[in-house]
């Protein structure tokens, strides 16, 4: 399975990426538009999501229903989402219809109707998502952590706020669309079975004339630290914890990623062993890397019944700091095997690859190929990981608890800024 990632930047700034996977029957694309929540005007939290919803209610010569039916007719599995940086549209389909689906999404980002008569319905839909989040305390603790750790404009959550959504009028949607749905900063990443020349032609024809100015500059991110509690009548206390690490853009990212892997990748990982297997404190516990505005954080989650929450937090912190006692050869070997086999599993999914190459391009401005990743993984050693840990001791903790009892970071962890 030869891997190549093809790239073309159009005159209007749009970046097209392609990873041919000719052994598949499918094709998939991820279309990132620089219209994330960090570009929402203050007070209009939820506008990015509302605008994304409105763009899907008809475009060019198709009304809302005809657009949906056309995609169903073609057999397209689709989703849309909003992150801090982007509004994103993702589709997977039998490869033969890619040429029919791309022009539909080209219309969506350039010529949506944004029908004024439907803004009430679209807003209701967004409010449904927000209310659903209130019934999911394990997700809600991450939303609260984002709001707490990252000041504006970075801390907004994709669902917005009730007050913000109620303030979003038709004009605000039109303006947000005009300012942020633009080729400069947009990434269209295609993976699966397709012909690159034919793809370039389709994209040139349907998106080559897309116009729009560059976007606004964002302020520098300064994270907030400490603890916050959200009172909630629930069986479990849900803990979300964050601390600093190097970001995705850093040449040392694989060291940080590997340390998080030792903590959380697989059933023999330290968090799973110490918190769940040995002590039975939780059903779910994990850690993951997250990067925003050039800053990296490790995010951890544990959900446990309230009486055992304090012990769970204490074991969680101890386990994180146990990385400083060293990483065994065996742990590292398991980790390397997991990463290597994951790279092969990715080759079975056009959707997974289209999403990965779009993300790589956003963070790095290029797509590392499999050989490069394998080389970086092979270079990891127990010594290099320990050295990385001692140079990047976890610090600047933020803790959010959702449940019936507040937890504080123990002495030595709170406000441990440097």
């Amino acid at each position: 399975m030869d891997q190549k990632v093809l790239h073309r930047q159009f005159d209007n700034g749009l970046v097209l990426l392609g990873e041919p996977m000719p052994w598949l029957r499918s094709a998939a694309f991820t279309f990132l538009i620089p219209a994330g929540t960090c570009f929402e005007p203050n007070g209009l939290d939820g506008l990015a999501g509302l605008t994304s919803e409105m763009t899907q209610r008809g475009c060019a010569d198709l009304d809302s229903r005809a657009f949906g039916e056309r995609l169903d007719e073609l057999g397209v599995e689709r989703s849309s989402s909003v992150t801090t940086n982007h509004s994103s549209f993702s589709c997977a389909m039998p490869s033969s219809v890619l040429k029919d689906v791309l022009p539909l999404y080209a219309d969506l980002v350039q010529r949506p109707h944004l029908p004024p008569a439907q803004i009430g319905d679209a807003r209701q839909l967004c409010l449904q998502d927000l209310r659903a989040l209130d019934d999911e305390p394990s997700h809600r603790c991450f939303s609260e952590l984002k709001r707490f750790r990252y000041p504006l404009p970075f801390g907004r959550i994709s669902q917005g706020t009730r007050e913000g959504l109620e303030q979003c009028e038709q004009l605000a949607v039109q303006e947000f669309f005009q300012e942020n749905y633009r080729p400069q900063g947009s990434i269209l990443a295609v993976a699966g079975k397709f012909d690159w020349d034919e793809l370039c032609e389709i994209v040139e024809k349907s998106l080559g004339d897309w116009q729009g100015e560059g976007g606004p500059q964002l302020p520098a991110l300064q994270s907030c630290y400490g603890s916050r509690h959200v009172d909630y009548s629930s069986s479990q206390t849900h803990l979300a914890l964050a601390y600093d690490c190097v970001s995705y853009e850093s040449p040392d990212y694989y060291q940080t990623r590997a340390l998080v892997g030792v903590l959380s990748d697989g059933m023999s990982s330290r968090l799973f062993s110490e918190v769940r297997e040995k002590r039975g404190l939780v059903y779910s516990v994990f850690a993951t890397c997250f990067s925003m505005a050039g800053q990296g954080s490790v995010l951890c989650y544990a959900g446990t019944t309230t009486t055992r929450a304090e012990e769970t937090l204490s074991v969680l912190l101890e386990t994180i700091h146990s990385l400083g006692d060293g990483i065994s050869e065996d742990e590292l070997a398991r980790l390397k095997n997991r990463i290597k086999s994951s790279l092969v599993f990715e080759q079975e999914s056009s959707a997974a690859r289209s999403s990965q190459i779009a993300s790589d391009w956003f963070y790095l401005g290029r797509v590392p190929n499999r050989e490069e990743v394998l080389e970086k993984v092979d270079q990891l050693s127990c010594d290099s990981l320990l050295q990385h840990f001692s140079q990047n001791i976890p610090k600047n903790y933020s803790l959010v608890t959702v449940g019936s009892q507040a937890l504080e970071l123990p002495d030595g962890f709170d406000y441990s800024q440097v």
């Binding site: 169903d72 039998p94 839909l125 479990q236 849900h238 059903y283 959900g303 086999s341 092969v344």
Partner: protein
């Protein structure tokens, strides 16, 4: 792709869909046992046992099991349903021997008491976690009302009480009756060395016992009626409905899936345009659940508490319309295209194919390749769908609502 099956006199049946061009290999042990095979006093034992399977065998400690799975770079997990417990691992082809040795060894866990007590806490945390998600409880209660005395009314997780009271001796007895050479199926998809697999499984499974026989199952008598569960913390209103459906071998099952797709899947269905596109509800879906002897259609509606009543009326109106007037050719075409694309996309990965093959084998000892399945959908007529609508969603249902805070 070749379908190969093998059954020796004293080993589990082996079912393989071999694709020499695949990059990966997926293996599963499908145990034909689940909540419906439990007596009331051991409710939740199948699911708890699924956890305990990873807690050590005669040849491996619990730590060895976890370390080896990670060393294999395996994508692995397990799940329990009403009628099956499934353990699976996807690995690179060169890891076949180790993966098969590990998976088959897991089928005979030692079930040590100390591990049992620790893991009981994890299962109780799992129940507490779901208990914080308000629809939880509504599906379970609806199932109890619908199936009545039939064992399909058993909750897959059990209850906090039934799990807390469960003893290791009860679990050992259940295991010895259910994890047997004639009740476990070894299923493999992707790039597989078939002769090696057959030889290896036969050797490992030599000492496995035989099944004594399952529960006596009464014929199902479906219940109907309404109940409301008050939940202090629910912000949304949730409604679960169950109607009579079809068993997993009914030839009308393709038509039933199309009916559910046209009526209430998550894009472009009648309820999507009525309730989701208009922002009236967050979710409004129907799907069929099929078991060996019977089945049901499950409906799920989630919306703001103040809209629950009017939304329920809309659901009833849409159902009445489809029963009275049937579906259009255009709706049939769209539903077929959606189902077809979904099957093609899902069939791409050996790990997905593993579930389709395993579940099909457990249900009917048969597997139809994707093109044959697609032609079954093409043969469904609008008259079939209307007839099914009359037989299923036109019958009295069980309804369980979880009242959100504005209602309570």
């Amino acid at each position: 792709m070749d379908l190969i099956t093998h059954k020796s006199s004293d080993g589990p049946e082996i079912v393989v869909l071999n694709d020499p061009s695949a990059f990966t290999s997926s293996f599963g042990c499908f145990v034909k046992t689940g909540a419906r095979d439990e007596q009331p006093e051991i409710a939740g034992v199948s699911h708890f046992l699924e956890h305990m399977v990873f807690k050590g065998t005669l040849r491996r400690s619990a730590e060895d099991v976890n370390r080896e799975l990670d060393h294999l770079g395996a994508h692995s997990n397990a799940f329990t349903s009403e009628d099956a417990t499934v353990f699976y691992a996807s690995v690179l082809p060169e890891c076949q021997e180790h993966a098969v040795d590990l998976l088959t060894d897991l089928m005979q866990p030692t079930l040590e008491e100390e591990k049992f007590e620790t893991e009981k806490q994890v299962v109780l945390e799992e129940i507490a976690m779901y208990d914080d998600q308000p629809p939880y409880g509504a599906f379970e209660r609806a199932t109890e009302l619908f199936f009545g005395d039939h064992p399909l009314s058993t909750r897959v997780l059990g209850t906090t009480e039934s799990v807390a009271d469960l003893s290791v001796a009860q679990m050992r007895a259940y295991h010895s009756q259910r994890y047997t050479q004639d009740n476990v199926y070894v299923v493999a998809c992707g790039k597989i060395e078939v002769p090696q697999l057959i030889e290896q499984v036969s050797k490992v499974a030599e000492g496995w016992g035989k099944t004594a026989g399952g529960l006596d199952v009464p014929a199902p008598e479906f219940g109907s009626g309404k109940e409301t569960l008050e939940r202090e913390l629910a912000h949304q209103s949730y409604m679960v409905r169950l109607w009579p459906g079809l068993n997993c071998n009914d030839p009308d099952r393709y038509a039933l899936r199309m009916l559910c797709s046209i009526l209430a899947d998550d894009s472009g269905s009648r309820l999507f345009w009525e309730l989701i596109d208009t922002g009236r509800a967050e979710t409004a879906i129907l799907w069929p659940q099929m078991f060996a002897d019977c089945g049901c259609i499950t409906g799920y509606l989630c919306c703001a508490p103040g809209d629950a009543e009017s939304n329920e009326e809309i659901v009833n109106r849409v159902i009445d319309e489809i029963v009275a007037k049937g579906v259009t050719e255009k709706e049939m075409e769209l539903a077929r295209n959606k189902i077809e694309a979904g099957l093609i996309l899902s069939d791409e990965r050996p790990s997905n194919r593993l579930f389709a093959l395993g579940q099909s084998w457990l249900a009917r000892k048969n597997y139809e390749p994707i093109d044959a399945v697609l032609s079954r959908y093409r043969n469904v007529t609008a008259a079939d769908i209307q007839r099914l609508a009359e037989q299923t969603i036109n019958v009295d249902s069980v309804t369980v609502r979880v009242a959100g805070e504005e209602l309570a």
